[in-house]
C-alpha cells in the first residue's frame, strides 16, 4: 500500500481515538443522526405532492386508537397512527392499517335494500335512503301509536335495538328513548361483562388500567394483551416499554401459548376456569405470610386483614394445585414475588371472566392488587381514566317501563345485560318484538350456539320486521327485511373517549372523505327517521333530533366542554382528532414529553384527592367515615382527611359486596368448581380465541388481513393427540352436546393437554366473497365479481371452520358473561363421510342449555346448592323483576 503521509497506522488510530475522546471539544459536524419521522405527513410517490391529512379515530376494533388518514384525489390511500394521541402514540396495528379497505370493498352494501323473497333467500330490491327511512318510520310509528291508543307504555318496548359495537356516543340511546323504548341490548355478555361485574361493585366503573410503563411486575391472567384484549395496541406498547426499559417481569397464566404467553418471563397453563383458585391461593400466601399492606386494607377497604385471613384459609396453594394443575411451590413463589416487588399489578381479561362464576374469578384477581397496596400507584393497578361529553339538550327521558330483554329479571347483578338470552326469551314468549333493529352486530356468527339466532332471525312471527344498519352482508344482515347501510368508520361522525391511557383524552371520528357514492351515515338516518315518524312534532320525537346534520349534532356535544372550548371546541377536534395535546412523542423513547423533554406524567392516587370546603358544605360524615351529601356518597374520611375515595357506596374498595349477598352470592371472592373441571379423562375443554390480525367477525373481508390469517385448525397437545391416534393436519370431529363440527388439527405443545382451542374470525358463511371463499372451486363463479385480487391473488382455499355453533350457552349468574370456555367436547378422527367444514347442531339441545343455565341464576336450584355457605334468608330472596339491580 502506498504511504501518502508519514504517520504509522498505530499513530493514525491513536489520533482518532483521542479525537473521539474529546469530541465535544473539537465540535460537531453538520451531520447528525436522521430524526425518525413519527408521521403526521405523507406524500404522493407519483407527484411528490403532500397528501391531505385528516385525523380520525380507528374503529376496526374497539380500542378506538387515534389515526391520520391520508387522502389523495378524494380517496383514502393510507392510514397511520395519530402521533398526538396519548393512547397509541402514532401507531396502528395491522387491523387499523388495513381499515381503509372497508371503504372500497366491492362487497360492501352501498344502497338500501328491501327483501323481495323469503327471509334469507337472498332476493333484494334496491331502494333509496328516502324510501328506506320512510318504511322504517312507518313501522316505528305504528308501535308508538298503538302504545298511545292503548295507554300502555310497555308496548314501546316492542321496538328493540341490538348492537354489537355502538360507538355513537349516545345516538342510539337518544333514538330509542325518544321512541319510549328501553329495549336496547348490547353485546357485552359475550365480551367482558363478568370482568366488569367482578370489579365495578368493588371500586366503581370500568376495568383497570395498568401503568405497565412504570411497573416492575405484571401478573397476567388470561389476557392476550400483546395481540388482542382490551386496549391491545396502547397496552401492548406500554407493556413492552415496561418490560424493556423498566425490566418488568411478566408472568402469564393461560391454557394456550398466545403471543403474550410466549413473550412472558414465565408461562403457566392452568386448567380453564381455575384462575380464581390460583389468585385466591396467592392471596392466602400473601395474607398468612404478612406480606400485605395493612394500612391500605384497613383504611381503604371494607374488610379487615383478619377477616380476609379467615376467609382465605381453605384456599391453600395445595388446593389451587389440585384445581389448576399449577404446582403449589410456583404459586407460593409467584405470590411472594408479586407481594414484594413494587410496584406490581395484575391484568386479566377474557380468560378468567368468560366462565360461569367468572365474576368471582375477576374479584379474586382484583383483590391481589388491593391487599398489596398497588392500587392507583405509579407502576400499579389504576382506575380507568376516560372523559365524558354532554348530551345535547333536550334529552329524551328513558322509557317508562323496563325491558326484560335489556335487564333480565333473573340476573339483577348483570349490569351489562345478558344478550345471549335474548333469542331464548323471545322464543319462550317472555318478550314481544314488533321492530327489531341491529347495528354492528352479527350474532348469527359471533354468539355461542349461533344457530339459535339464525332460527330466531328467520322466524317472521317472532320478529315480524328486521332492520339492519350494516354495510356488510353478514350472516345476520342477510336475514333482515330492510337494510339501511351505514357508512364505514372513515366516513362517519362519532364522539370518542376510551381509558386506553392513564392520561384521559377526548376524540372524534369524522368523515375523512365524503360518504362513498352518496351513501348515508347512520346518524343522518336516525335524524331522518325521527323526523318522518313525527313530522308535525305531535309524538314528541322530532324535538330530540333538531339537528341540521351530523356535524351540528357533534358540535352540540363538544362546543361547550371547559378547556376544550377555549382551545377551539369541535373545530379543534376536527383539526387534531384528539384533545388535549399532552406533548410530543419523543422519537427515541416513544414517551410523550413536554417542551423540556420531560415525560408528561399521568396523575396517580385519584382516590386520595381531597374534598374542598365547598364540597363538604352540608355533607355528613357517617360513623364508618363515609361522607354523604344530599343522600349520595361523595367520599370518605380517612385519618381525619376527606378524600373523594372510590365509586362505591362506602367510597372505599368493597371487597365485601353486599349487592352479591342480597341475591345469595358470596360477598367475598370465592372459587366455585365448574362442571368442566369434572369432565371425563378423554374429554377436552373447548376454548376459543382472537388472533392479532382480526376482530371476532368483521375483518374477514379485508384483503390484507384475510391473506395473513384465514384458517383456524384446532390446537391440540401432542400427548392428547397421540392418545387419540391423531396426527398433525388430520381431519377431526369435535363433538359437544349440541352437535359436531369437522375441522383440521394443529398439534402443538402450546396448549394444555385437556384443552382444544379454535380461533374465531374464520369459517364465514356470509360476509363477502373473500370471507366465504365462495365458489373458490368453480372458476367462472369465482371470477364473477371481477375483482382481480380475488381471482388472481387468493392463493389459499381454506377459510377455516367457525367453532361457535357447538359452543354451549352457559352464563355467569352474577355478571351474566357467557362461559365461552366451559364447553366440554370429545375429539376424534373424522368419521367416514365427514367433510372439512361440516357443522351439525341442534336448536332443541341449545334450548335445553338455556333451561340448564337458568338453574344457576339466583332463583335456581343449582345456585342454592352451590352457595350453602352464604348466610342469607334463602326463602326470601328478592322477587325477580325487570330492571331490578341494573
Amino acid at each position: 500500500m502506498t504511504k501518502h503521509f508519514n504517520v504509522s497506522r498505530r499513530g493514525f488510530l491513536k489520533l482518532g481515538g483521542t479525537t473521539a475522546a474529546i469530541a465535544g471539544a473539537v465540535g460537531g459536524s453538520r451531520l447528525h443522526a436522521m430524526e425518525q419521522k413519527l408521521g403526521g405527513e405523507d406524500f404522493s410517490p407519483v407527484t411528490g405532492k403532500p397528501r391531505q391529512a385528516v385525523p380520525y379515530t380507528c374503529m376496526v376494533c374497539n380500542i378506538e386508537d387515534g389515526g391520520i388518514a391520508y387522502v389523495e384525489d378524494g380517496r383514502v390511500v393510507k392510514l397511520e397512527g395519530n402521533p398526538d394521541h396519548p393512547g397509541n402514540r402514532g401507531k396502528l396495528c395491522a387491523k387499523g392499517n388495513s381499515g381503509f379497505q372497508h371503504v372500497y370493498d366491492p362487497d360492501r352494501i352501498m344502497t338500501p335494500l328491501m327483501r323481495a323473497g323469503a327471509r334469507g333467500e337472498g332476493k333484494w330490491k334496491r331502494i333509496s335512503y328516502d324510501e328506506a327511512t320512510s318504511i322504517l318510520a312507518t313501522k316505528l310509528r305504528e308501535v308508538i301509536q298503538r302504545s298511545e291508543k292503548a295507554g300502555d307504555p310497555a308496548i314501546r318496548n316492542e321496538i328493540v335495538f341490538k348492537w354489537g359495537r355502538n360507538r355513537t356516543g349516545g345516538a342510539v340511546h337518544r333514538f330509542m328513548h325518544a321512541m319510549g323504548s328501553n329495549a336496547m341490548v348490547n353485546h357485552t355478555n359475550i365480551c367482558e361483562s363478568s370482568k366488569k361485574v367482578g370489579l365495578e361493585p368493588s371500586w366503581g366503573p370500568d376495568i383497570e388500567s395498568v401503568d405497565y410503563t412504570n411497573t416492575k411486575y405484571v401478573l397476567n391472567f388470561g389476557s392476550n394483551v400483546m395481540e388482542t384484549a382490551y386496549f391491545h395496541n396502547p397496552n401492548a406498547q406500554r407493556l413492552v416499554d415496561g418490560m424493556v426499559a423498566n425490566k418488568a417481569k411478566l408472568v402469564t397464566f393461560d391454557p394456550r401459548l398466545s403471543n403474550t404467553a410466549g413473550r412472558s418471563d414465565e408461562w403457566f397453563a392452568p386448567f380453564p376456569g381455575t384462575d380464581g383458585a390460583i389468585a385466591l391461593a396467592m392471596a392466602q400466601v400473601i395474607m398468612t405470610e404478612k406480606l400485605y399492606d395493612d394500612a391500605f386494607i384497613r383504611n381503604w377497604t371494607n374488610v379487615t386483614p383478619e377477616r380476609l385471613i379467615a376467609h382465605l384459609a381453605p384456599y391453600t396453594p395445595e388446593f389451587a394445585e389440585k384445581e389448576s394443575g399449577i404446582a403449589a411451590r410456583d404459586i407460593r413463589r409467584i405470590a411472594r414475588e408479586f407481594a414484594t416487588t413494587k410496584p406490581a399489578a395484575t391484568f386479566s381479561y377474557r380468560g378468567p371472566c368468560k366462565h360461569v362464576y367468572g365474576s368471582y374469578q375477576e374479584a379474586a384477581i382484583h383483590m391481589l392488587n388491593v391487599i398489596t397496596g398497588n392500587v392507583e400507584k405509579r407502576g400499579g393497578y389504576c382506575l380507568p381514566r376516560g372523559m365524558g361529553w354532554p348530551q345535547p339538550e333536550p334529552k329524551p327521558p328513558a322509557g317508562k317501563v323496563p325491558s326484560v330483554l335489556a335487564a333480565p329479571p333473573l340476573y339483577p347483578l348483570a349490569s351489562h345485560a345478558v344478550s345471549t338470552h335474548m333469542p331464548y326469551m323471545i322464543m319462550k314468549g317472555d318478550a314481544k318484538v314488533s321492530v327489531y333493529m341491529h347495528y354492528y352486530d352479527n350474532p348469527a356468527y359471533a354468539y355461542p350456539s349461533s344457530h339459535v339466532w339464525i332460527d330466531l332471525l328467520k322466524n317472521e312471527k317472532l320478529l315480524p320486521f328486521v332492520v339492519s344498519f350494516s354495510c356488510y352482508m353478514s350472516e345476520t344482515t342477510e336475514l333482515a327485511d330492510l337494510i339501511i347501510p351505514d357508512v364505514t368508520y372513515l366516513e362517519r361522525h362519532d364522539p370518542e373517549s376510551m381509558p386506553s391511557d392513564l392520561r384521559p383524552w377526548l376524540g372524534i371520528r369524522q368523515p375523512v372523505i365524503k360518504p362513498l357514492g352518496n351513501t348515508q351515515e347512520f346518524r343522518e338516518t336516525l335524524i331522518q327517521v325521527a323526523h318522518k315518524i313525527d313530522s308535525d312534532g305531535t309524538l314528541g320525537v322530532k324535538k330530540y333530533f333538531a339537528f341540521k346534520n351530523s356535524e351540528e349534532w357533534m358540535r352540540a356535544h363538544f362546543d361547550n366542554i371547559p378547556g376544550l372550548k377555549e382551545d377551539g371546541g369541535y373545530d379543534y377536534l376536527k383539526k387534531n382528532g384528539v384533545w388535549p395535546k399532552y406533548g410530543k412523542v419523543d422519537p427515541e423513547t416513544a414517551k410523550i414529553v413536554d417542551k423540556n423533554g420531560n415525560e408528561v406524567q399521568p396523575e396517580f392516587g385519584l382516590y386520595l384527592k381531597e374534598l374542598s370546603a365547598t364540597d363538604m358544605a352540608g355533607a355528613e360524615v357517617k360513623p364508618d367515615g363515609t361522607i354523604v351529601k344530599n343522600g349520595k356518597t361523595i367520599g370518605c374520611q380517612v385519618n381525619g382527611r376527606n378524600h373523594v375515595g372510590f365509586g362505591t357506596p362506602s367510597a372505599r374498595i368493597e371487597l365485601y359486596k353486599e349487592s352479591y349477598k342480597k341475591y345469595g352470592f358470596n360477598p367475598l371472592p370465592v372459587y366455585k368448581r365448574l362442571p368442566s373441571r369434572d369432565k371425563k379423562a378423554d374429554e377436552l375443554v373447548l376454548t376459543t380465541y382472537k388472533v392479532n390480525v382480526h376482530t371476532q367477525s368483521r375483518t374477514a373481508s379485508l384483503k390484507y388481513l384475510a391473506e395473513l390469517y384465514h384458517k383456524n385448525p384446532a390446537w391440540m397437545n401432542p400427548k392428547t393427540a397421540a392418545a387419540k391416534g391423531i396426527a398433525d393436519g388430520d381431519l377431526i370431529r369435535v363433538t359437544s352436546p349440541l352437535g359436531y363440527l369437522v375441522t383440521k388439527v394443529h398439534v402443538t405443545e402450546g396448549i394444555h393437554p385437556d384443552v382444544v382451542a379454535v380461533s374465531t374470525a374464520c369459517g364465514h358463511s356470509a360476509y363477502g366473497r373473500l370471507a366465504q371463499l365462495k365458489h373458490r372451486d368453480k372458476d367462472a363463479e369465482w371470477a364473477l365479481g371481477g375483482d382481480p385480487d380475488i381471482t388472481h391473488n387468493v392463493w389459499w382455499d381454506d377459510k377455516g371452520v367457525h367453532p361457535n355453533p357447538i359452543v354451549r350457552l352457559a352464563v355467569d349468574p352474577i355478571g351474566g358473561s357467557q362461559g365461552w370456555y366451559d364447553t366440554v367436547v370429545t375429539v376424534s378422527k373424522a368419521q367416514p363421510g365427514d367433510k372439512y367444514g361440516d357443522v351439525k347442531v341442534s336448536v332443541e339441545q341449545s334450548m335445553k342449555d338455556y333451561e340448564e343455565t337458568l338453574r344457576y341464576a339466583y332463583t335456581g336450584d343449582i345456585h342454592r346448592a352451590n352457595h350453602k355457605e352464604v348466610d342469607v334468608d334463602w326463602d326470601h330472596l328478592p322477587k325477580p323483576q325487570a330492571g331490578a339491580g341494573h
Partner: protein
C-alpha cells in the same frame, strides 16, 4: 365552410343515430332497473327489433307489477347486492370501488361536456351501463355533426369514441358481459348481456387490428389464476 351532405355522410349519420340508440338502450338496461316506461317500449315498438337482435322480450309479458318486481330483483342480484357481478371498471381493474378508472372515465365525460350524477347511492362514473350510455352520446354527437355536415367535428368525435371504447371498455367489458350473462337467471338480462357483448366485439373489431383484437380477446377471457399452494407454508404461517 359548410359542405353539402353527401349520400355516404347521410347513411353514416343515420347509422350513427342508430348506434346511439342501441348504446343508449343497452346502457339504460344495465344502468338501472326497468321502469314502466321502458317496459312499455320493450313490449311495444322495441319488441321486433330486439327479437331480431336476439332478445326475446316476451319474457317481460304479464302483470306489470310482477314483471317489474322480478326484473328489479334480478337487477339487484346481478349488479347491486354484494357478491354480484360488480359493474364497475374500478373493481375489474383494481379490486376496489371508485379508483383511478372512475376518475379517468369522469374526465372523459367532462371533456365531452357531460357530468356524472348518481341516481342511487353507490353508483360511480365507471359503471358499465353509464359508459355504454356515454358511447351512445358520442354517437349522437357524431350523428348531429354529420347531419349538419360538420365533417371534421364528426371525424374528431368518432376518433374520441373509438379511443374510449378501446381504452376504457375494450379490455374488460365484453368479458364482464359474458360472466354476468352466465349467472343471470332472468332471460331478459341474459339476452341483453349477450347482446351487449356481441355489440362491443362488433364495435371493437371495427376499431382495432386483428392482432389487437386477439389481445383484447385474451384480456377479456381472463379466468382466475391459481397460485400454487406450498404445503410448507402451513408451518411458516404458524399453523
Amino acid at each position: 365552410m359548410t359542405e353539402c351532405p353527401t349520400l355516404t355522410q347521410f347513411d353514416a349519420g343515420e347509422e350513427c343515430g342508430a348506434q346511439a340508440g342501441l348504446f343508449a338502450l343497452l346502457g339504460r338496461c344495465l344502468e338501472a332497473e326497468i321502469d314502466e316506461r321502458l317496459l312499455t317500449a320493450l313490449r311495444g315498438e322495441l319488441r321486433e327489433p330486439l327479437a331480431e337482435a336476439g332478445v326475446d322480450s316476451a319474457c317481460l309479458d304479464g302483470d306489470i307489477d310482477r314483471v317489474l318486481g322480478d326484473a328489479a330483483v334480478e337487477f339487484a342480484a346481478l349488479f347491486v347486492v354484494p357478491g354480484a357481478a360488480s359493474p364497475y371498471a374500478s373493481t375489474f381493474q383494481t379490486g376496489a370501488l371508485f379508483q383511478e378508472p372512475a376518475d379517468r372515465v369522469a374526465r372523459w365525460y367532462a371533456d365531452n361536456g357531460f357530468a356524472f350524477r348518481n341516481a342511487h347511492s353507490g353508483e360511480f362514473p365507471d359503471h358499465v351501463g353509464t359508459m355504454l350510455a356515454f358511447v351512445g352520446k358520442l354517437y349522437e354527437v357524431e350523428a348531429t355533426a354529420l347531419a349538419e355536415s360538420r365533417v371534421e367535428a364528426a371525424r374528431e368525435v368518432r376518433e374520441r369514441r373509438g379511443r374510449f371504447v378501446v381504452e376504457e371498455l375494450g379490455s374488460w367489458a365484453p368479458g364482464w358481459c359474458r360472466v354476468a350473462a352466465a349467472v343471470a337467471e332472468h332471460p331478459f338480462y341474459r339476452q341483453v348481456l349477450a347482446l351487449t357483448e356481441r355489440v362491443l366485439w362488433e364495435e371493437l373489431s371495427n376499431l382495432v387490428s386483428a392482432r389487437r383484437l386477439r389481445e383484447l380477446s385474451a384480456a377479456n377471457a381472463r379466468g382466475p389464476a391459481r397460485m400454487p399452494l406450498n404445503p410448507d407454508y402451513r408451518k411458516a404461517s404458524g399453523l
